[in-house]
Symmetry: C2
Subunit: 367 residues, 2 copies
Amino acid sequence: MFELVREEAGARRGRLQTAHGVIETPAFMPVGTQASVKALSPDDLATLGVQVLLGNTYHLALRPGADRIARLGGLHRFMGWTGAILTDSGGFQVFSLDHLVRVSDEGATFRSHLDGSEQRFTPESVMAIQRELGSDIAMAFDEPVPWPSDANRASAALERTHRWAERCLAAAPGSGQLRFGIAQGGFNRDLRRQSALALRSLAFDGYAVGGLSLGEPKALTLELLELQAGELPRDRPRYLMGVGTPFDLIEAVARGVDLMDCVLPTRIARNGSVLTRGGRINLRNRRFADDAGPLDDGCGCYSCQRFSRAYLRHLFMAGEILAHRLASIHNLFVLLRLMDRIRDGIGSGSLAALFGDLRTEWQSAPL
Amino acid sequence: MFELVREEAGARRGRLQTAHGVIETPAFMPVGTQASVKALSPDDLATLGVQVLLGNTYHLALRPGADRIARLGGLHRFMGWTGAILTDSGGFQVFSLDHLVRVSDEGATFRSHLDGSEQRFTPESVMAIQRELGSDIAMAFDEPVPWPSDANRASAALERTHRWAERCLAAAPGSGQLRFGIAQGGFNRDLRRQSALALRSLAFDGYAVGGLSLGEPKALTLELLELQAGELPRDRPRYLMGVGTPFDLIEAVARGVDLMDCVLPTRIARNGSVLTRGGRINLRNRRFADDAGPLDDGCGCYSCQRFSRAYLRHLFMAGEILAHRLASIHNLFVLLRLMDRIRDGIGSGSLAALFGDLRTEWQSAPL
């Protein structure tokens, strides 16, 4: 179900077949936390060329409930999305959101951020939830550790993550559902290698690198990513969770990553920020009040084709939510077209030059 | 520029030619207060079949400023709307928003609701603002009176409105810009008649009935509307400002009204309410949590074709702004298709039967 089409300088071009269409990789996945990529309709996403988006098991399980979504025909039908959906396992939310969590080998007990009710996630329950949601790719339940964490803590979490991974695989998948394991290991090189080796012995359809980009230095992120991705099976898709910026995407693909997701493009959009090749700009800035130009010169997105910086600034200042949609469309367009260029470049023989151009183009946009 | 195509039982079917296309009347105009019909893009409006929308002189003059919009190419270009735009004169906002207003024959002085700065609107300045905005239809500056108001107050406001109307006409219109006068008269039959007669002696391109639906009994609204509309020139378009509900639209057209506007469909949408033939419903209600049906059975709008009540309820409960867009699309679709049916029915010979059906259909939806 994963076909490696071409490779060049460590980067991989591939095709991942899912129950809801093919995903051309490397691919960026927009995040639809609560069954909606914020401010966008499914048609907006299809127009942008999105092939796969991410849904959050934690959020959907608490509201509106996985059983309810199952009764309503599954997540695709519920949210009107005909493309592929990857659901995360909730591990990151359970261990990172600000609520008391008690963890044992059995699972994690925590309080809902919505109503304070006690909730319990186990490897089995998390896979059952993802079966009810009907996602195309289900993630194994994992325990990431925060930055900084010492090796003892990271090692304990890693061992538990591996035991949970086996239990996740022992649970029946949904019809046509792929299952990805998540490699952890904190910020320790040996543990990162150890986790990759342990996971690759399990029959997952794909493998994720989890628990990075949590505040550690960027150079360490990239070093651990390169190390761990290099130990994952070559014939399975690799997913780097939770990145990122244009620069992050370039560096991840250069290290053999096939799938990425991040809330960044839609989150910063709601705050008035848009990605441009001259750097990230905030449209609320007064200097855009009379700027008749597009968000980014030469951008082909709907927002840039039809509206000016001055108009979007006005919408943000006036509290008009059309602004959120237009800025989100632009930011997603930027990342998706960046991935298109990279994908087309893999196997061209001049990928290194392309990466050089892209690094220059986007490194100037500190995020 | 206004062609009366057919009449039946007091209702009129017509075509109003503007600098940005023909408006088939009777027509409902969505309100784009701050250069945006809230939550909707210009493409959403075009897809809905909107031919004309309303912009608010008061709001646009304060933010982002009419001079700025003029520099950016006018309101159409600013907001990316190629159809017709009617701008109100700000009279209603100046006299109804909660800020101290001092009025003299010269004009009205008030404080901005945004920053407390002192602002001054005169008939001349209001027409100049609308010239800068470049609207297709500009409204004369008027002084409505609140409900209840006695005849003395209504009479003084009416006299001033008439003097202002003459000054508005003395100002140069924008290129291709039509100008409408506004009849007032408070809640007094004689004053309503007197205002219509005074205004019809002035060479406006159309006439509005202003200052109704401010809290007075519905029967009084309809009586005063019928009385005043009946005194307005037959060969000019008639615009009832600030209504309304499906029922209001039916009753207005039955009394010879050609144009209507109201924030209702988009305002109630943001609150979770949608118009259905079984009555207005609020999607936040728990009873819709598992409702797989469309917002209104048999509705052909995008939202009903693609999503369920359960999904929209979830979006509202989760604070996802896609809900605002989808509910607004539905509510506008309802009013626009209602107007289509009425327009098609005028001259069919069976308009009375259609009105009967529509009253039954929509009277059950108290708003």
